[in-house]
Amino acid sequence: MPEPVTRREFLSYSGAALTGVTLGQLGRQWLASTTPAVVHASGSEVWATSVCRECPASCGLRARMIGGVPVKLEGSPLCPIGRGRLCAKGQASLESYFDPDRLIGPARRVGERGAGRWEPIPWPKALDLVTAQIRESVSAGRPGLVALAVDEDGPPADAWSDAWRAIGARTFRTPIDTATRLRPRFEALTGVNGDPMFDLERASHVLSFGAPIVETWLSPVWAQRAFGRFRRGPSRQRGRLVQIDARRSATARKADEWLSVLPEHQALLAYGIASVLLREDRVQRGLLDEFGGNLREFQRDVIPHYTPDQVAAATGIPVVTILRLGRDLADSPRPVVVVAADANNSLIDAVFTLNALIGAFDRPGGVFVAPASIDRRGVEDEPLEALGDLKPRVVALADPSPFRTLSASPDLGRLLEGARFVVSLSPYLDETAAFADLLLPTHTPLESWHCAVPAPAVAAETRSIAMPAVKPRLDTADRLSLVASIARRIGAPEQATDEPISTERIARGEIDRLWRLRRGGPYSVVYETEWLEQLERGGWWAPAAESREDFTNRILQAGGWIDPYFQAGQIEQSLRERRGLRFALPVAIPAVPPAKIEIKPVDGAGRDGFGKGATLRLVTFTPAVVSLAGNPNQPVIYELLGQPDAAPWQPWAELHPETAARLGIESGHRIRITSRVATIEAMAVLVEGMLSDVVAVASVPSVPGAGRWARVIEGDARSLVALADPAGPCLVVVARA
């Protein structure tokens, strides 16, 4: 529950309450009058455990506290995901805690929606407001609607959805970009109802279809560690990486070979490689002979449509290259084919088909089933895109991450225009605050309890669990406690009788459940984790604690729980039960855009009219350092943008040097990119090897009403794509600004 408002807080509020102030001013006034919320022994160094929430990986953190104030974030050496390592975003999240423009407490909109004028109100009044709106909405037969935080997976996320649904709301979310998104197509082929897990570290050859391996793939810190070992691990040969990517991403830059292929063409290329493997009989026969399933139909009905000649004609990739890709894959001792989590279904089908043909299932350096993914509970939320047609009466937003992960930038104003009341539970000045009628700021991650199911990546069942590293420095609340308070006021039957829900209660309940499982133990160093695994393999379990209380303390000190027991062979077992693989059967090359379009000057220009711009195909991408879940107001992140090719503090657009020359554009020029729905400007960067008819534009959330650093960014590339039709190529006019 929210803490009571102190006299100092009241005075700070009351000075601003008469006319309403902008959020930025409110934040600065507040912070100017406060002191650190918590002080331990003065000047002493303490390490506190927490969990990073910048992405679904949920890496364990250690916060270095001096005199009770966090001054540095490091990865936890006990956490099996990062093993003491931490990415740029994770470290930068310290700046969210100290953000001078953070929301200081509950506030109510005054004036027009989106105008950014607010007046602070006490918590009880804020809860009364939202309760009244939801009551009215329920009685009108139009339920309140909730957008769920994208970075959530685990018991608190389930509790959030349950609590809202208990009061008649419908819950929405954008699927998180983890291996779980690959699960349905993996299941269609193998019958395994589990998340696929790629053994990158032990692979000898990786063929990647757009997988951002060294950027944001599945579980980024795990992926980077695995990539480092794949490249130069002890006692092994250097791994080889081939990247199929529309632009020269950071992963493409690291690759031994990069092929610039549009996302719409990548499934064709994958099936073309499959046809090479089958025609030249380069497939691994072991698994296929026993569990081939409909391989014969696949070979008979599909392969004739994807000959190298046909694929080359459709994609522009030379036949000789397609042949070589297939042969390199087959000749490597432990090859694996990987794919981006947000790839389209046909590409995912094609990638798992290739893995089946090269015998990558259930083998080192191949594909396994992530432990415990089979009994993971799925959140029954609806896709966020469905929200636009509902015209909800009340909308509650946990944070802006569901919107940031959409491939097109939604016009939040339009999406929410039918809502009578919008409430944001984000701790920060972000996209949700800009359109909210009521702000109920929640704790930042360092101030929060955590109980997360990390994105499946390591060969172990894990939970990242931690208590707050610091006390809240501002007048914020626990997210689940807030929802429980609202539910209690409404009188939801489940909430009225139970002990109040809070993240702490959920986390402690999960620890109790883990204690009763009688397996696994607290996060521990590599040696101890491996020892535990050996014990469990022998049928033993050595409890890490003598009592449940002791177990709870050890889990909270270590920052999580791990059961390292891992049983390979689940794919084979499933294939045995269902009698073989079930390949997808795309019997004709789908209608795809041409391999290349003619670059034409814009209408009205003469023969030499490229000065006014030309039409190109748009590819958007999110830079790895941009957080899709957290606070946009982290200055260090903006300094990292575009390195080492572009200038910091601004989005950039990549062009082929020849195309740029025709348009009179040089590296560093400002260029204007216009689609049928929006125009943005960006800095030009020239990239050898990319498609000449493509412009690739970095997507950095543009949040005009945000904090002082975030509001500097102008023009989100996703705004160029209409939300209604984000799939397929979008044509834009590119010209020098």
């Binding site: 600065r28 912070l31 406060t34 650190p36 104030v69 966090p70 001054v71 540095k72 990865g75 990062g82 390592r85 931490l86 990415c87 740029a88 994770g90 470290q91 930068a92 310290l94 700046e95 805690y97 100290f98 953000d99 001078p100 060294v214 950027e215 810190v221 980077q224 560690r225 990539f227 480092g228 070992r229 490249r231 130069r232 250097r238 990247q243 020269r248 950071a250 493409a252 830059r253 690291k254 031994d256 990069w258 420095r473 350092v625 200055p635 260090v636 903006y638 300094e639 990292l640 390195q643 080492p644 090719d645 200038a647 910091p648 503090w649 601004q650 090897g689 002082r708 650093w709 500097v712």
Partner: protein, 225 residues
């Protein structure tokens, strides 16, 4: 006496910039503004530069920081001895002695010594996140990577308190500690049994601008086969 050195394996390095953030937070390197960045006055002690490697897809992202040369050109030109080579091989910078003449920034062939064009600022509560172990640098002086020298002093104190010698793992700079791809290895170049000495003799090892004879103690391992 150890001779501290750093090996960066460019085949492992992914250019993720975790090292950049770790360095900024650890060493109280202030944030820039867009205007400062436009004028090339971004303050970083470590940053990425594009580096061409024959046979690669495109230029690699090479993390560049003070190379801690054994024959540093910067120390020779410093009129106040503000920058000097420590007995352990760290090119140190004594900020109170620095008069901001920028002779050293001109002499450094790697352009890794940065001039402080403005007073360091951490708005509002952000001042609290500064590391008390690292002194703040005023406007008008030159600063650079110190191999997180303050960590060496703290590690020494800790070892002395515990009545033991400094162990190899006691002291690592912040960038090395956080590197997600495990591309950075730090230690004593003179320890024949240490990982750093072994990697420094790897056939892929090279130093930047070796021909100048500056003898850097930051050693890179070439990317590729």
């Amino acid at each position: 006496m150890p001779r501290w050195g750093l090996v960066i394996d460019l085949d492992r390095c992914t250019g993720c910039q975790a090292c950049v953030v770790a360095c900024k937070h650890e060493n109280n390197v202030p944030f820039s503004t867009p205007a400062e960045a436009t004028h090339g006055r971004l303050l970083t002690w470590i940053h990425l530069v594009p580096a061409e490697t024959p046979g690669r897809v495109g230029p690699s992202a090479l993390p560049l920081m003070c190379q801690h040369c054994d024959r540093p050109p910067c120390t020779d030109v410093c009129p106040t001895s503000a920058t000097y080579l420590s007995p352990e091989g760290i090119v140190a910078q004594v900020y109170p002695r620095c008069i901001g003449c920028r002779y050293c920034t001109n002499a450094c062939p790697y352009s890794v010594k940065v001039f402080n064009w403005s007073s360091p600022e951490w708005p509002g509560a952000m001042a609290e996140m500064r590391n008390p172990d690292v002194s703040l640098r005023p406007k008008g002086i030159v600063e650079k990577c110190t191999f997180c020298h303050h960590r060496l002093m703290l590690a020494r104190e800790r070892a002395r308190d515990e009545g033991r010698d400094l162990a190899p793992d006691d002291y690592v700079p912040a960038c090395v500690q956080t590197c997600p791809a495990e591309a950075m290895t730090f230690g004593d170049l003179d320890d024949p049994h240490g990982a750093v000495a072994a990697l420094a003799n790897n056939p892929r090892a090279f130093r930047l601008m070796e021909e100048l004879g500056t003898k850097p103690k930051v050693i890179y391992l070439r990317e590729g086969e």
